[in-house]
Symmetry: C2
Subunit: 347 residues, 2 copies
DNA sequence: AATTAGCACTCATCCACTGAGAGTGCTAAT
DNA sequence: ATTAGCACTCTCAGTGGATGAGTGCTAATT
């Protein structure tokens, strides 16, 4: 594609992102020093419109980008150079030192920071519990038939599950059971563990050893419990802060979708299967109907080369993509670093 | 105060709550069967305006309630009869059976349900950790110098704290330490425990027993860790759902305030010291500047007669107070019941 | 052949104006 | 004490012209 077309498209998109108003040919020549007259620009813009990258809200208005225009802008017109505020990196680094290392605080804080910097809503998906490897299980007697199972994965995700037994069970007994579980299942992925548990239960049908039987039943309970704590969201107010050009109805729909965490988990499952690195989803590229008027910029974060979760932002389609992309990228790298170095160690 | 004034005030407020439009004298006579002519109504309304309960947005518009008007309406014009949808109670009961008994899921789900029913934002404050009595502490070795402390209070609140030691520590040792902590501090309020820990540490300065010293140091770490997980919020989209008559700026401010959980904890600390039962805060009665354009309807919930937390909603000043008040009341009672009967048992 | 200047044309937006309608306050009658 | 009647006020929706930003096309220029 013609280099000059790209240049003009880029100018139009960036101007529109800044002003939220349709861009005319005269304005472009004034702000940017392209060596071209308005008339020429007009011809080029007409071409861009023909190609589907720009549109006019009405005759005799300036042009604004279509979704396809944004897409092309993101794909071809952003130079990967450091779009990023030095400040952002420094602040992120500063957080690095003060932040708690426990996974949920980590993600919550990182999400909040990302949200503040980017002025979008921040979203993070914690390391998927079901795909993690088991590191340790501890059973704590609470009261009566209630037992608290504390499950720790190798990623450092801690989850509490309150189990309800048919009959009371002493702490000593529970300790033995958890010891047994740990011996049997440590290092297993939870899905493996699940299968193994089911198999064991089947084998031990005769219940010759009540300890094993009990342990397995607990293991099964833990596996089957469906948990929805995987999603962190922050920055509801940030989206409202953007005064121009995103109507209340869109925001409403978006909020409704986002508050349904199960739905969001589905979305991220779909995204996760796409390529690695920062992914930008613009408008109707979003898998959810309710998010057709938003854009998402997301990136997976890794531990030892394996994707374990996703972090990113959601905001209006008219968004400062270069900066936001860099921020998300930087944040994901930060998380990757933290998870690979600190949480769960190197081994 | 004149009974008739109350009646008219009530009619005006309720009509305004329904329609979001200033109410005129003619409309009142049409909708409600007061045996009065518009002219009489006008006189009464003029009186109500003089008393500060009503106002006109401009001459020759109808009247709308002032904050004082809402206040009087809530105080004197609502009959305590069952304003409540039968449906709501039944649904709440249904939840009762399916809901997880673990405190955080409980509160999250209850908050969400309250939010959905009332079409306001739901807010809950979990049993204040620092004021709770310790039920059990368990220390779990995670990796290297990391130790996970699982603290359970008598209310059933479970909290995970990741501690970082100077030197590694075996699980056996940790178990002994937690055993010791449990023996020493079980049943203490956390504030008491805190003092005792500090005193102990001071007494044992010589560190003649490394176990005790270590236990106390851990206890202290746990006490000092400031945690902000006490607030549950749900239903951001509900507030936007109300199309009429609450401007974006107010919502923005409100969201910003709500997302700052530390601030919200302060607010609820202030509220908690007020009377018991459902409290309604209208507009400028709210302690926070950012919430001058909202109303809150909140109620404490108890365990064994002692206030342990708060639940309620936040929404626009123009709110269906009778229903919302009933709903909040019902929800608080429900929580009280659950906490008194189930969580943490009766003893 | 590409670029540009010039010009006619198109709409949205702003502004002033207007009439209708809803609602009020006041006064006099009931 | 209540009500009917009336003059008055103010918002709101609609109208119409002026303004101006921006376009597309054509012819001239480089």
């Amino acid at each position: 594609m013609d280099e000059r077309l790209n240049e003009i498209l880029r100018a139009v998109v960036e101007n529109y992102i800044d002003t939220a108003e349709p861009v005319g040919s005269r304005k472009l020549t004034k702000r940017y020093n392209l060596g071209l007259s308005p008339a020429t620009i007009r011809n080029i813009m007409a071409d861009l419109e023909y190609l589907g990258f720009l549109m006019q809200p009405h005759t005799s208005a300036g042009r604004m980008p279509t979704e396809k225009g944004y897409r092309h802008y993101v794909d071809c017109c952003i130079d990967d150079g450091h779009q990023l505020d030095e400040r952002f990196i420094i602040e992120t680094q500063k957080k690095l030192e003060n932040i708690e290392r426990d996974v949920s605080s980590l993600l919550e804080n990182v999400t909040r920071e990302l949200s503040k910097c980017s002025h979008q809503m921040g979203i993070a998906v914690a390391p998927r519990f079901s795909r993690s490897r088991l590191s340790r299980v501890e059973l704590i007697h609470v009261k009566g038939t209630s037992v608290l199972a504390v499950v720790i994965t190798e990623e450092g995700v801690v989850r509490n599950l309150l189990l309800d037994f048919e009959e009371p069970c002493s702490q000593q007994h529970l300790s033995k059971i958890s010891e047994y579980i740990n011996k049997e299942l440590a290092g297993c992925s939870l899905e493996d563990a699940r299968e193994r548990v089911i198999r064991k239960v089947y084998e031990e049908k005769a219940v010759y050893d009540s300890l094993v039987a009990r342990a397995m039943r607990i293991g099964r309970l833990i596996m089957e419990r469906q948990v929805e704590e995987d999603i962190y969201i922050g920055g509801y107010s940030e989206v409202l802060e953007q005064p121009n050009f995103l109507d209340l109805d869109s925001i409403k729909e978006m909020f409704r979708a986002i508050e349904d965490k199960r739905m969001m988990i589905k979305v991220f499952n779909m995204i996760e299967e796409m390529e690695s690195g920062v992914t930008v989803l613009i408008g109707s590229e979003n898998p959810l109907d309710e998010m057709q008027d938003c854009s998402m910029v997301v990136s997976p974060y890794l531990k030892k080369g394996r994707v374990i979760g996703t972090i990113g932002v959601i905001g209006p389609i008219r968004m400062h993509y270069p900066q936001v992309i860099s921020m998300v990228d930087e944040t994901a790298k930060f998380l990757t670093k933290v998870f690979s170095e600190t949480v769960g160690g190197r081994g």
